[in-house]
Symmetry: C2
Subunit: 239 residues, 2 copies
């Protein structure tokens, strides 16, 4: 179930447009195209070796995922998300992933819970070996939340979080080269969430998950306030 947890790369998708969606999304999320960059249709069509037809379809799909901003008759540019947008999204995550944790506690199979414990053990191990984290912790955190969302067994919830929310969060993390906020504390919170799920205590699981995400949001808000008082280049140009 861990095959490229957040889809992206489906090499032989049925239609051309699907492949362009995957490639263009990667280029956006991974930062090949910086936020605010204008993307001309002809230019992109040449880059991906397709006609403008499928390319336009890809653009519309990524626009509906809020990864691109388009103005009719003018053009499309990579969505440049402000810190306030990210904070708004964290409110949504708090509500949605809280519910996901509750449903996961009610509906996850015992095997899935066991898998969560294994994932946690892996994260602790990586944390011990490599104190500065970086990539692993980032992907791992995503993977943890990803599994709980899947564990809710609620299709609508899964579609919303994985289809509309998570791509944007991923983009943020790459753009701001955000090292996860509070590695050790986050890991401890993850463990408590799994405990609640294992105990089939949905209410507790939701409470803990909401608190977990809420703390991340508060960290972001504090960071934003200090950025406002000392406005420095928002991107990754600080040695």
């Amino acid at each position: 179930m861990s095959e490229s947890a957040l889809d992206s790369s489906a090499s032989d998708s049925r239609t051309l447009a699907d492949r362009v969606v995957a490639r263009l999304q990667d280029d956006i999320v991974l930062g090949v195209f910086k936020p605010g960059t204008k993307l001309g249709e002809a230019e992109l069509a040449a880059r991906y070796g397709v006609s403008r037809g499928p390319l336009r379809e890809a653009i519309r799909r990524l626009e509906s995922r809020k990864l691109l901003e388009r103005i009719p008759h003018v053009g499309t540019r990579v969505a440049s998300l402000k810190a306030t947008d990210l904070i708004e999204i964290y409110r949504v995550r708090e509500a949605l992933e809280g519910m996901a944790a509750r449903l996961a506690a009610e509906h996850m199979s015992d095997a899935e819970v066991a898998g969560l414990w294994e994932l946690l053990a892996l994260h602790e191990q990586q944390q011990d070996l490599q104190e500065d984290i970086a990539y692993y912790q980032r992907a791992g955190d995503l993977d943890f939340h990803y599994r709980i969302i899947q564990g809710s067994h609620n299709g609508a919830l899964i579609d919303l979080l994985l289809g509309e929310i998570y791509h944007r969060v991923r983009m943020f993390r790459y753009q701001f080269s955000m090292t996860p906020n509070r590695p050790k504390k986050a890991l401890a919170e993850h463990r408590r969430i799994v405990e609640a799920i294992e105990a089939r205590d949905g209410e507790m699981a939701e409470l803990l998950m909401r608190r977990h995400i809420s703390r991340a949001r508060e960290y972001l808000e504090a960071q934003q306030r200090q950025d406002l008082s000392a406005p420095q280049p928002p991107l990754s140009e600080r040695t």
Copy 2:
């Protein structure tokens, strides 16, 4: 702010595809095309008097809103939503609109709160005059939730609920010709929610909104169980 609360009809939109989106969405939500109906591209293009290009764009947009189901190289049909899907959506609504109520309590202006009271008074009046309700209550209920969502002043939340969730809920209501579940009780619950918002008690507002939606979901679940035991034509063919 109440001009066509759930958009749909923008008569002179900038691009052709936008107009087709609006018209096709109306035809789907209002039941002109029944769920499961196969929609051929040529057929639709003729119906709306456009080429297949803009039509395909419209189809993709409505597909991303979950109003259409498409299979590559096969075709698109009107999304036929099962009762279990609706129940899943209500879980999402519970989480999302609960958060919306909390944020509304924190961020709504006094004028907006006053507007909520006026809306409630209008609903009570209509309820007194016309005991059997039907349309007014249905639209009114939507309008109440709509306003609280807007009152959250959270763009991400608003986009999600109004752009991804509410169209599907509307479609359900028309398809099953669902008379609102519990008119009087719902109205009383609405009043208590507004009281909490006016008192700026976000926690209470969220709790009440979640309970409100949760009860509607439980009603749906009970209805589904009795439908399963006595399976009758699910659509509107009962005199």
